[in-house]
Each structure stands twice: as C-alpha cells, then as structure tokens.
C-alpha cells in the first residue's frame, strides 16, 4: 500500500472506532447500563481524528462534555472509555466522572468539562504552562458553536492572543446548540470571525475530508509550536444524533439529517481509500477489528467492578 493510503487508513480506523463505540454506548444507554447524560459525537468524527493527528505526546487536549471522540482519537483505550460510561472503577476517571468527564493524565487529556465556556480559559492556562516551561507543546481546545457567546471563551481568547499562548481553539460548528440553530444564537454565521477582534489568526473549513482537517489544523498547530501564536478555527460539521440521549430532535427534519449524511467523513474516507487501491479485504479486516475492539470494551465494562464507597471522599483533597 502507498503511504497516503496508510495514513488515511489509520485515520479511517479511528473514525470507525469512534462511531462503533458510540453506537454501542447508545445501545447500552437504552438498556439502562449507562446513566446520566450521554452526548454522542456521531457525524463529527473527522474533527477530532483529523485535528489530533497533528499532536505529539506532550501536547494537551481540553474538551467539552461531548468528549468520547477526542478521547479515542487521543489513543485512550475503548475499554477505559466504555468502563467510564458504565461507571466502573476501571474507567478512565474511575467511574467518578462519567460520559462528560473523560480524563487521562498520561495522554494529557484534561477533560471532559461540563460547564460551557470556562474550559477555554483552562486550556489557555495549560498553554501558558507550556510557554512558562519553555516547552514546544501545543494545547488543543474544543467547544461547540453555541458556546462562543459566553464570557469564558472571550476572556480566554483575549489572554491567549495578548500573551502569545500556543493554543488552538476549535469551534465545532454542528449547527445546533441543543435545539437552537446557529442563526438564533449569533448575529453572524462565521464563528471564526471572533478571532479578529483579538488579533489572532483564524481558519474555517468543513469536516467531510479528514485529511483536509488534518492539514488545516496542522497549520495552526505548527503556528502554535513554532511561533507560540494562538489560532481560532471553526470546523463545519454535523451531529446525526440528538444533543444528548434525551433529545427528541424535533427542531430539525429527518430529511435534513439524511442530506447531511451524504457528506459523511467515514463514507468519504472509505471511498478515497478504494480510489487509492485499498481493497474490500482490507476494509473488511478493519471493520472486523474495530467491531471486536468495541465488543471487547463492552464486555470489559460489563465485567469490571464498581468503585467502592471509599472513593467518594478519596479525591476531595490531595
């Protein structure tokens, strides 16, 4: 296989893993095995996978409650992620965090934050620490388009630009903030315009092509790493499922969702792979591997132990 096929194959596998993982999670949720909120990333996979493909081990990620995709793209195991959803002690936050609060110190995944906006400033702080220590690390921060009006986001951008922090902020514009379309949360449609007032670089592109996402985010990551300058990016994407499992989705039509599935990043990656000469057998092998990985993760989650009562207060203080 040629090198470009190799690269795309890896990204394709990651996207497929996220999708199959979340399909399994949705099923487990409907069976009552997962509780609380469950915000699925299905449809948006190319955003996390393309963006994170640019990171080194020392780089950091800060995300929202919609965090399964970035966690898996960062190489956190499907087992640790699924076990967290099941609230098991083997989960990535020991069953204390749940779906919205995936953490992994080793992989520098700093959450999984459930309060809109504040985490952007936290991400700026992580970038500040990299600069303070004179390390060429980059911090990637994700948020939704519905969250760009809140103060935390703006204060964070202002500081990141003023202090030249190695931060890349990615606004995932999936067109809806719960049931509210962008046109009813913002007077402009391009959220990357928010960068201008702060004097920082910006970019804006779609997520149908994962390699393009990788290349464009790569430019911002290089800017952060080489020149310690922040960038604000809007990726135009779409979520196929509701805001969370409890959302009946009455604010959009089934036709709209079907139309958007026509630019599905996984379908496109598969077609591109075939065009690059990857055959049915290779695709089938990857699908089988991914399915086995997800089944294994679900079994692991089912069989893992619950956290013990002693964990309730164990992490209140150092």
């Amino acid at each position: 296989m040629a090198a470009p096929a190799d690269e795309l194959l890896g990204l394709y596998r990651q996207m497929l893993l996220i999708r199959r993982f979340e399909e399994a999670a949705a099923k487990a949720y409907s069976q009552g095995k997962i509780g609380g909120f469950l915000h699925l990333y299905i449809g948006q996979e190319a955003s996390a996978v393309g963006a994170l493909a640019n990171l080194n081990a020392g780089d950091a990620i800060v995300g929202t409650y919609r965090d399964h995709g970035i966690a898996l793209a960062r190489g956190m195991s499907a087992r640790a992620c699924m076990a967290e959803l099941y609230g098991k002690v083997t989960g990535c936050s020991k069953g204390l965090g749940g779906s919205m609060h995936f953490f992994d110190a080793e992989r520098r995944m700093l959450g999984g934050d459930g309060i809109v906006g504040g985490h952007v400033a936290v991400a700026a702080g992580v970038a500040f620490a990299s600069k303070y220590r004179d390390r060429r690390e980059v911090t990637l921060c994700f948020l939704g388009e519905g969250s760009v009006s809140i103060g935390g986001f703006h204060e964070a951008l202002s500081l990141a630009a003023l202090w030249d922090l190695p931060l890349v902020v990615i606004v995932e514009n999936n067109e809806y903030s719960m049931g509210t379309p962008l046109s009813r949360t913002l007077a402009v449609h391009d959220t990357s315009q928010k960068a201008h007032g702060y004097g920082m670089a910006s970019d804006r592109f779609g997520t149908s092509d994962v390699l393009e996402v990788k290349r464009r985010v790569g430019e911002a990551v290089a800017r952060a790493r080489e020149t310690s300058k922040p960038t604000l990016i809007e990726v135009q994407t779409y979520r196929y499922r509701g805001h969370s499992m409890s959302d009946p989705g009455k604010y959009r039509t089934a036709d709209e969702v079907e139309l958007r599935k026509k630019t599905d990043p996984i379908v496109k990656a598969e077609a591109d792979l075939r065009a690059l000469g990857v055959g049915d057998a290779d695709i089938a092998r990857i699908e089988a591997e991914v399915e086995a990985e997800v089944e294994d993760a679900s079994r692991f989650a089912e069989e893992s132990a619950e956290p013990g009562e002693e964990l309730i207060e164990a992490f209140t203080y150092a």
Partner: protein, 325 residues
Amino acid sequence: MRELRYREALREAIAEEMDRDDRVFLMGEEVGYYQGAYKVTEGLLERFGARRVVDTPITEEGFAGVGVGAAMVGLRPIIEFMTWNFSAVAFDQIINHAAKIRQMSGGQFACPIVFRGPNGAARQTGAQHSQCWEAFYTHIPGLKVVAPATVADAKGLLKSAIRDDNPVLVLEDERLYGLKGEVPDGDHLVPIGLSAQVRDGDAVTIVTWGKMLHMVLPACEILAKEGVECAVIDLRSLRPLDLGPALASVEKTGRALVVQEAWPYGGVGAEVVDRIQRDAFGALKGPVLRVTGRDASMPYNKHLEDLTIPSVDTVVRGVRAVLAW
C-alpha cells in the same frame, strides 16, 4: 382542587402571572422553541409570543444581567437557569447586582426579578451538574430563596416570587418535575417566609425542604410502625427563614433533626441548628443533629451517588441517632 405535575404547576404560575401583568416575561436557554429543557415552559412561546418568551444563547452572565437591568426600570423578568449549576457563571449578576441595587441606591431602585431552575442532583449527572445552591445564595442579604417541595407550593411560591419586589430565587428540582399533587383552584399564592408543618409527632422534630421532604415522609412511616412519631416541618422559604412552627414543635419533642441534600459545611441546615439551640435551648434533650449529603463532589457511579445523597434509610438512622441521646 386539581391534580397537576410539579412542572405543570410551575408552568401555570408563569402563565397566570404573564396573563395578569404585561411586565412579566420569561428568558432563558431553550425556554421557547425547544419547549424547555425539562418541559416546564412547554407551550408558552406559542401562547405569549417571542416578545415575552425569549430564547437566549448560552450567556448566563449576560441574560441574568439583562434581567437585572430590565427589573431596575420596572419590568418583572423570570430568568430560567437550565440548572442552577450554570448560575455559577452568573454569580456576579445575582450577588453583586441583583442583591445590592436597592441598598446601594438608597432605596431608589428595586430589582423585582425571579431566577429559577432545578437545584441539586438529578440522576448520575456528575460533579458539575449535581450541586445544591442554597448555601451560596441564602448567605446574601437582599436575596430571597424558596425551595418548593410540593406541587401546590411550586405554583404558589413561584407566583408570590413573581409578584415580589425583591430578587427571589426559586430552587426547583429535576427529580420533582414529574411529581403529581393537588393544587387549589384559582389564584393560588403561597406567601414567601412561611414554613409548614406537614406531619405531627411527639418524638423528634424533623426540619427539611425540597426533595428531601420525600425522603423524610417515608422514613416517618417506617418509624411510626415502631411507635416513633415524628413531626415534619417543610421550610419552603430558606430566606427569609420561618422557624416558628419548628420551635413550637421542639417545645413538645425536645429533639430535632435537620435533613438536607446539600453539603454539611455551613449552609441552611447549620443556620437552622443554630437558631433551634438558641431559641429552644431549654426544651432540648440532646443536640440537634443533621443528615446531609456527603462532603464530596458528586460521583457519577450510580451506587456511589445513592450513597452520597441522603436516603430514606439515612433519615431513619438520623432519627435513631437523635433519639439515642
């Protein structure tokens, strides 16, 4: 009397007050087109239109402040927080603005605003989404805080809150939204600042509020089978705080227990304990104890969450501990 759900009672309160007073409007995230994140505001946009049912972006500090400004010049905003956890982002507006306008202006400006939304733990929503806010807000002079536990009080307290000339915070509860109960017909108002004795007994006086009332009452039934009859006081208003009925009951029982979902450190329960020991010291046969949520951020795991929030069982044990003195 009619049977309604808690969320319907809140909706009726809002609709009736909007009908009677054009100055009243509703503002918050997903309150209109989406019909409310927890369906409290279902149908209100269709009924009152977008002028008076205003969907906001995620901007708690912004729309809380818009509410404060509008209230200062005579409107009567009802500001919905999708949950009280998000009010943390609007803390400055509630504490430094809404609560202080009247005092700072030497009484020239009022701030007749309602902030409302669900308080406390829902189900497995984790550390950031499961907090009780009464300790934070009752601390502040200038704010009134109510926590309806019953369907009738949900309607009556919210209506009183809307008519009040002060900022009133209404602490609802997601786990109570589906609760059914009787609501008196007509213009049902429950005055702010009056607690209610909801059960009589001679053994222990239990003081509680909000969803914990629904842990306390079943616990009382269990204890009654053993011949232990507890009196139960539902505070309803947390500030101003009416301990009249509680003190009268303690004169009879000589024993008291406070049951709260909130963390133990400081807070409303501690305030109640302080007042009972000061005002009924002579009647007490032992210390006033508290059953509280455990002193930790909420774990996601269901089993641990159940252990963190007071249950019927922990209330029963609390009563036994009080009686052991």
